[in-house]
């Protein structure tokens, strides 16, 4: 198992290096206006612009810039914001914003996990019956329709129906409910769909014949064999759901005015704050890669067979 985890760890590191390098190189292709901050492009003459760029180290040879970039990153320095809050350290901005995103993200993940898994179990047990069809209908709608559509309708109608606040307010606990709920919808669909699929897979496995021949009740078979085994591959879906939560946070935080990282990204993009966009893109990638690695580790812990075939290519 440790060899498998080690291998996955190195792959994650490799991915991280690739992502950092690509992000860095791509960001150098950006129009240089993004670096002049609130002074604006018009007020500065060419020599002033040149001075700013040199100051930022952008006139150094590319490989020197890259080395600087890496050594700064290693020190936890993501650079300064250019336009959003000029000359404020991005690390500091993120420190203020991250707790909101983490709190809402984790609570929506937990909520989705409980609801989605139970929904998947029920759908598998009631396969092809009404409950399954209703569940499938929900899954299809959620997965097919772009999330913004139902986020908008949640904000539009559910706030009225349940008399909940339209926008986020740190001092108003009820203002957490809708964003958390909305952010969970997609993951509920995902968990339910995969849990149903894995349960149905397990239900067709040969070992159940022996379990039945032993005289185990269907209930016991469901709980201690089928659902238990189906949960193991579900771990693979965890990283995807973390990514989905990040994607959702970009919409939700800006819709409900939550002062988190997702909303910050939208602001940074609209203000063309190159450094901030770069830092946030990197942060999100790290979370995504970390999630994948976490999934691999959990998988190795849960599936006793994994140490045997760790050499298989791809996932």
């Amino acid at each position: 198992m440790s060899k498998y985890v080690l291998k996955r760890f190195f792959r994650s590191i490799l991915t991280l290096i690739a992502v950092i390098t690509v992000v860095f190189l791509l960001m150098r292709m950006m129009p240089e206006e993004g670096y002049f901050g609130e002074a604006g492009t018009d007020k500065l003459d060419e020599s002033q612009k040149e001075a700013i760029l040199t100051n930022l180290g952008l006139r150094d040879p590319m490989h020197i810039q890259l080395i600087h970039f890496y050594s700064d990153l290693a020190k936890g320095d993501l650079g300064d914001s250019l336009i959003y809050r000029p000359n404020v350290s991005i690390t500091k901005i993120i420190k203020q914003k991250a707790p909101y995103s983490i709190a809402i993200g984790l609570s929506s993940l937990g909520f989705a996990l409980i609801l989605g898994l139970s929904m998947g179990v029920v759908m598998a047990k009631e396969k092809n019956k009404l409950a399954d069809k209703m569940g499938t209908f929900y899954v299809v709608i959620i997965r097919a329709v772009p999330p913004i559509v139902y986020y908008l309708f949640i904000q539009l109608y559910l706030t009225q129906i349940f008399k909940l606040p339209l926008l986020f307010d740190i001092d108003e606990p009820s203002s957490w409910i809708l964003p958390t709920f909305a952010m969970a919808l997609g993951n509920i669909a995902g968990y339910a769909m995969w849990m149903r699929r894995y349960m149905v897979d397990e239900l067709n496995k040969d070992y159940l014949r022996l379990a039945r021949a032993k005289g185990l009740s269907e209930r016991k078979i469901m709980v201690s064999h089928v659902a238990r085994n189906a949960l193991v591959p579900m771990v693979q879906y965890l990283p995807a759901s973390i990514l989905f939560t990040i994607g959702g946070s970009i919409y939700i935080e800006s819709l409900f005015s939550i002062p988190g990282m997702g909303g910050l990204l939208v602001d940074a993009i609209q203000l063309q704050d190159n450094n901030l966009v770069q830092a946030l893109v990197l942060m999100f990638s790290v979370v995504g890669i970390l999630g994948l690695f976490l999934g691999d580790v959990l998988m190795a812990m849960l599936d006793p067979r994994i140490k045997l075939h760790s050499s298989g290519g791809g996932r």
Binding site: T15, V149, G247, I269
Partner: protein, 318 residues
């Protein structure tokens, strides 16, 4: 019961040998399985999928034909009244079926124009995915030496969150249709490549194909009988799913401000415009109509693609 038969009078002439035809022996257990027929059978059994297939076909036809129908407005023309004033925020009427937007453009024709844009993006991404995927996948599977390298590259690319790549590329490049196509295509080819690679390896190593080759079956026959069905079904599935994905990506990028510029009518732009009126009940039609059409399109393609994917999976051909 047994004794009844024994005491019963049976015509003695029946106790002579019957003619034996070895072909009869073979005939009885014959199964006439055909992959494509079974696929269609399974598909057409799924009533929802059949209805949505008709919806998709009609939608496709309609989006193409719509501009040439009588009484259609231009999606970008700003309509004015006799005094030259913009016909802003007109509610749905017989003239402007879905009303007009805040600068007097016809929402009905903008929806279909946006749908055309999205369909174009989706199909283009799908075709790029196909070409790149099949090309890379074939090399990946065929050249054994490259396998570990491409596998590692694949693992790294699939490790990077797609949304992040989408945002990054759209942020760096000029906003436009081409940018969205590039941003989507950069990661999407990987799963097709992996699929093709596995197919190539199957044709090389899987026992039934080995057996088939030992019996002298020509390669093209193995490919067309054992591989093509899988390939075609996956192509259909991915093409169908590329369209809801293209719509979703465009809407997402437009929402965060790096999608299509406002002068190109698109579903994302329509939703963004409609979003402004979320607090004005009388103008909500500007949000409701585009989202309704968009939902019908994405759901139809999604369900149809999956139904075809299921139907073409031989495991479901029971």
């Amino acid at each position: 019961m047994a004794s009844d038969v024994k005491t019963e009078k049976i015509d003695k002439s029946l106790f002579k040998f019957a003619e034996y035809d070895s072909r009869n022996a073979e005939l009885i257990g014959y199964s006439n399985y055909s992959y494509w027929r079974s696929t269609l059978q399974v598909f057409f059994k799924n009533k929802t999928a059949v209805i949505l297939l008709s919806v998709v076909v009609l939608l496709l036809l309609f989006t193409v034909v719509q501009p040439y129908l009588p009484n259609q407005h231009s999606p970008i023309k700003i309509n004015v009244d006799a005094d030259g004033l913009q016909l802003r925020n007109l509610p749905p009427s017989s003239e402007y079926w879905f009303g007009t937007n805040s600068i007097g453009q016809d929402i009905w024709s903008r929806i279909w124009s946006g749908t055309r844009t999205s369909l174009f993006i989706g199909l283009t991404v799908g075709i790029i995915e196909l070409i790149v995927g099949i090309f890379v996948g074939s090399i990946w599977g065929y050249v054994r030496k490259l396998d570990p390298i491409i596998t590692e590259i694949y693992n790294i690319i699939t490790n990077i969150p797609t949304t992040i790549i989408l945002i990054l590329i759209a942020y760096i490049l000029e906003p436009g249709i081409l940018t969205i196509i590039i941003a989507m295509s950069v990661t999407r080819w990987t799963s097709m490549a992996r699929f093709v690679r596995n197919l190539v390896i199957i044709i090389r190593d899987r026992e039934y194909n080995l057996a088939s080759r030992c019996l002298g079956t020509p390669l093209h026959r193995i490919a067309s009988k054992n591989l093509l069905p899988y390939l075609v079904s996956v192509i259909m599935l991915r093409l169908a799913l590329a369209i809801p994905l293209a719509i979703g990506s465009e809407v997402f990028l437009t929402y965060i401000g790096i999608g299509l510029p406002v002068d190109i009518p698109s579903l994302g732009n329509l939703i963004n415009e409609g979003r402004m009126f979320i607090m004005t009940p009388s103008l909500r039609y500007q949000l409701l109509f585009p989202t309704a059409v968009l939902s019908i399109i994405t759901i139809s393609f999604y369900v149809m693609g999956n139904a075809f994917g299921d139907a073409s999976d031989p495991k479901n051909h029971m």
